[in-house]
Every structure is written in structure tokens, then in C-alpha cells.
Symmetry: C2
Subunit: 155 residues, 2 copies
């Protein structure tokens, strides 16, 4: 079995897409993040939900979360939404040197090769792509399932 | 809305539980990991799927995933499974100083407080607990959903 057979569809966004739409995609699809691609469809990085939160929650509240208690819930949620309005996905991303290394394998990577890459990068997901073709994403749990289901018996 | 209202049930394992059973739990429930609790039910850390992979994939293959290509798939999967056999969850965990900080809030934390904690620790999930009661886990996507659904209109 190869990485391209394991890859599952995963939400993709472009760098120029609307930031609020990307945030809603993460929220609606119950995903930990989305894969960001450039205009040619080449994968750039992963935008995790926690990065969206970093962008919308004021820095001093991140430093001291107990400050959040003094906020009115509805008012602060609206302030968060308005921070995303009119922004692009590119603006949400951390500066290039602080971006998440995108764990990536080619379509013909083996199961153990995928596992080794995830283990090394401590990543819960792995992008499977060849040049400008994104095959999808493999999650740790899916990979564990494949490894643990492999037995010595004839298939 | 408070953290305890947002908390969703999440798989818990004890330090003394069987490692292979914990790995199967991650695989079968399609979760990024499980929450580890001690004998008194107090949360200790999170065991992510990637840590299970770090334990079962030989170090030299993690360093150079292309080495994985020379392995026979069935044989190497069996070698991975046998590494888990007879081990406990505690043995799977990294040494204490290298464990994941467990992002945690109390049951009465506000939505923004949860978001601030996740943003600060770059975490895709947050444990909600009071003393020895684990209420469950809040994911980034769920929290984003709550924030993005909050509008100025009357509820």
C-alpha cells in the first residue's frame, strides 16, 4: 500500500482566499486545520486552527488567559470575527521563518516511510503530493489503523 | 457559555493500561491522541498518535525515512506491533521533561479564555477538568465554530 492509496481528501485554501472563509472551513468541517496552496496549486504550509486563534485573540489575553474573564462574551466574539474580515489567508499565516514545516511525502511513499516522517516531525498529519498534484492527507490515526491491521495471515 | 458546556467526551487511558490497546483506541476512534490519567483519574498528559509512531518506528528510519523503502511492508508492520506488546502506556510516554504540556482549563473557563490558552500553547485541543474530574476536551475547530456563530443578534 502506498501513500496515494491512504490519502484522504482534505480542505485546501489558496493564499489569496478570504481569511474568514478559511476559518469557517476549519470550524464547519471539524478539522484541525487546512492545507494552504499557492496560485499554481502547489502546497505551501498548513494553517492550523490554533494559528487562527493566535491571530484573533489579543496578545495580552494570550499571555494571561485569566484576563479573558473580564470580557463580555458576545462583544469579544464579534471583535474576533471583525479581525478576520477583509483579510486573506496569507495575512493569517505566521512569517515564513515561523511557519510549520509541511510534512510531505510523494504518492509512492510506503506506509513505514509515512510513519517515519510523522514520527520525526511529531505531526498529526502528512501531505501526500507530487509536484503540483495534491493527493490528500494521511492522519496518524489512519496510519496506525493500517499498521495495526497488518497481520501475518494471508490477506 | 463555559468550558464544561463545550467539553466533548474523549478517550482516556491509564498509565498502567496496555500500550497496544491505547494505540488501537487512537486508530479506531480516528483521534489525534488520547488523554492519559493516573490511578486517581487525574490527567497527566496527552499521548498523541505521533508519539506511538516514534516508539514503534526504529530511530534510524525516523532519521532517514527513505530507508523505509527497503522494508517488507507486512514484516515491518508486525515488528511495529510486537514493540507494543506487553508494554504499558507509561512506557510509551517520553521522559517527564519532554512530555507535552497539557493545555488545561477549569470547567468555568470562558470561550475566550479557552481560545487564549490554545493560541498560546499552539494546541489543537484543550482538556477541561476540575481536580480529579475530567469533563472532556475542547477542540480548536469546535471553539472556532462557537466564536464564529456568535453574532450581535438576539439568540
Amino acid at each position: 500500500m502506498r501513500a496515494r492509496d491512504l490519502a484522504e481528501e482534505y480542505p485546501l485554501v489558496q493564499l489569496t482566499d478570504d481569511a474568514l472563509t478559511a476559518a469557517r472551513l476549519i470550524a464547519d468541517q471539524r478539522r484541525p486545520g487546512v492545507v494552504v496552496v499557492d496560485a499554481e496549486g502547489r502546497p505551501v504550509t498548513v494553517l492550523p486552527g490554533s494559528q487562527v486563534l493566535r491571530f484573533i485573540i489579543p496578545g495580552y489575553v494570550q499571555e494571561d488567559p485569566s484576563l479573558a474573564r473580564v470580557y463580555d462574551e458576545k462583544g469579544s466574539a464579534q471583535a474576533c470575527i471583525s479581525k478576520l474580515e477583509g483579510r486573506t489567508v496569507k495575512e493569517l499565516l505566521p512569517p515564513k521563518e515561523k511557519r510549520y514545516e509541511l510534512p510531505k511525502v510523494s504518492g509512492d511513499a510506503t506506509v513505514i516511510e509515512c510513519a517515519a516522517m510523522m514520527a520525526r516531525l511529531h505531526s498529526p498529519l502528512l501531505l501526500v503530493s507530487d509536484d503540483d498534484t495534491v493527493h490528500g492527507v494521511v492522519t496518524t490515526s489512519h496510519l496506525l489503523k493500517v499498521i495495526l491491521s497488518t497481520t501475518g495471515k494471508a490477506p
